[in-house]
């Protein structure tokens, strides 16, 4: 297997892009990633996306975006794993380069969510859950997370406000990210007073629906310095699964897929969790931050919230998370989110994170979660 590095990166601003189509968002991210790697041709393109069929009535994104980006003829395809789609696309591209099948590969996540009314977007997102036994009961995706959060509070004795720091930290970091959707601070008071969506989840527990695209270019590490002075090595890439339906889990409050995925990644990189300098966590809801931190080995069961309460998760903390705003404040264009996480870890490791730069960042991890934990993609990157 060949060692693989990231040689270029690109992203669009996350937000409501009324003036841009799905394909244009994809083109913009790919074009800027190729420019940063100083290349005009790629060998293959793997596109992570969840909802284009439902919300844009467009499948077949590999060929479409390849063509509309001036790359007609290359190998290209779409990869889908719900909100974990972009992480999964990265995994496929990585395997192609590592295995010697391709040399210079673009991996992208793209999502266009604002072209439909909200009840359709809500039912489309519920497709990440079990259609027969969760969605058919009228459960929304927010509803599933609300069930988890209420049970977590019940079992571990937390109050609703104990989750506020996850959202406050994400917003504080998004202020300095020009590509973030919500570049505004929030206070504990605002969190406490936010509009309820599905009790106990309120508006400020939740990541927003958004449009966006992000992209990185992969190449064998042996070739990487032909393209960039700041290659970032892929030290680990792992995918694990769990039951799609929450009710089928042995313990609904334990993300077994997250734990398996993280353990595989730590083994590949030969490190433990506390060797990491930062962690881009999949904070679709504040409860997911807590469950992910526990599954990835940063806290025992029921103690994930303590890391936030104890002030460990800020830029200067023991474990900086959501360093560019996370899903909560950078925004959550679902099938693109996993690539935003990887782009942001790469920015940190290249020393390009501006005011949010984690000092001397050498090792960073992104964990991209599909559904309520059914697909978990863990990626560990290292400054070369």
């Amino acid at each position: 297997m060949r060692d693989v590095s990231i040689i270029g990166l690109g992203q669009t601003v996350v937000g409501e892009h009324w003036d841009k189509s799905l394909r244009m968002l994809g083109y913009e991210a790919l074009n800027s990633a190729m420019a940063s790697a100083r290349i005009e041709r790629i060998d293959a393109l793997y596109v992570g996306n969840m909802l284009s069929g439902e919300l844009t009535k467009q499948e077949h994104l590999g060929a479409l975006i390849a063509d509309f980006s001036g790359q007609r003829g290359i190998e290209a395809m779409k990869i889908e794993a719900a909100c974990g789609s972009a992480g999964a696309a990265f995994r496929v591209g990585y395997a192609m380069v590592a295995g010697g099948m391709q040399d210079v590969v673009a991996v992208m996540g793209v999502e266009k969510m604002t072209d439909q009314e909200s009840s359709l977007t809500t039912s489309a997102l519920a497709m990440a859950a079990d259609a027969e036994y969760e969605a058919l009961q009228g459960l929304s995706f927010v509803g599933i997370n609300a069930l988890l959060m209420r049970r977590y509070m019940h079992e571990h004795g937390y109050k609703k406000d104990d989750f506020a720091q996850f959202a406050i930290n994400a917003h504080a970091n998004a202020v300095n990210n020009p590509n973030a959707m919500f570049r505004s601070l929030i206070t504990a008071r605002q969190f406490a007073d936010a509009k309820p969506i599905a009790d106990p989840i309120n508006l400020l527990d939740s990541s927003p629906i958004a449009d966006g695209a992000a992209c990185v270019i992969l190449a064998p590490t042996a070739m990487a310095r032909e393209f960039t002075d700041k290659p970032v090595r892929v030290r680990a890439s792992a995918v694990a699964t769990d039951t799609v339906a929450v009710h089928d889990r042995r313990d609904p409050l334990y993300l077994e897929g997250g734990a398996i995925s993280a353990q595989k990644a730590y083994a590949q990189a030969g490190i433990g969790p506390w060797d990491l300098d930062l962690f881009e966590v999949h904070d679709a809801f504040t409860i997911m931050s807590a469950l992910s931190l526990e599954a990835a080995g940063f806290a025992p069961r029921g103690k994930g919230v303590r890391l936030a309460l104890d002030g460990e998760i800020g830029i200067g903390g023991r474990l900086p998370i959501t360093t560019m705003g996370g899903l909560k404040a950078r925004g959550h264009p679902v099938g693109a989110t996993g690539m935003y996480q990887i782009v942001e870890v790469t920015q940190q490791l290249r020393g390009e994170a501006g005011a949010n730069q984690v000092r001397d960042a050498r090792l960073g991890m992104a964990q991209n979660i599909g559904g309520s934990g059914a697909t978990v993609v863990t990626t560990i990157l290292e400054r070369a």
Binding site: S118, S119, L120, T122, S123, A126, E132, Y133, E134, A135, L136, Q137, G138, L139, S140, V142, G143, A146, L147, L148, R150, R151, H154, P196, I197, A198, D199, P200, I201, T243, A245, V246, H247, D248, P252
Partner: protein, 158 residues
């Protein structure tokens, strides 16, 4: 929506018919023919009592398509007496009276409607078990049989 998609699941949706694993005796709902505990084949039918207690709950205000006219409605994870968790709506109860641990029983209700001329989809929901009405109530041991009407043909193409 298509008739066959619902017709083939009527036994599980109206009667809570699941499976029992001949290898490890695990009780399985919804039925999946492969035991989630020991991964062996498990096709022996097993009908659940329809009783259990609330594991967690929430109320949906922004409903997905097909459920708008029911909103707001309360959903729950219910721990069945026989072991499995199921996801279902609660009915015949005020959301403020629901609590974790509340004893509930299964009833058959309309789950969704697909417009004026579409299918009415029926399935299970849960309501407070007989003798339990509010958050201050204690669990009362009662023998509630699976509701008779659950066995009738109730899926109607209008």
């Amino acid at each position: 929506m298509e008739v066959a998609r619902y017709w083939r699941t009527t036994q599980q949706r109206y009667r809570m018919e699941g499976e029992i694993c001949p290898t490890c005796s695990g009780k399985i709902f919804p039925p999946r023919d492969v035991c989630p505990h020991c991964q062996h084949e498990a096709k022996t039918p097993f009908t659940f009592s329809g009783r259990g207690e609330i594991f967690s709950y929430s109320t949906i205000h922004n409903a997905p398509q097909g459920f708008e006219k029911f909103a707001p409605y309360t959903v729950a994870l219910v721990r069945l007496t026989e072991g499995p968790l199921v996801t279902a709506q609660l009915t015949d109860v005020d959301e403020h009276d629901v609590y974790i641990g509340m004893p509930v029983e299964m009833v058959t209700r309309v789950l969704r409607e697909d417009g004026e001329r579409g299918l009415l989809v029926y399935g299970f929901k849960f309501r407070p078990a007989f003798g339990v009405s509010g958050s201050s109530s204690q669990a009362v041991a009662v023998d509630v049989r699976a509701p008779e009407h659950a066995q009738h043909e109730v899926m109607i193409a209008r």
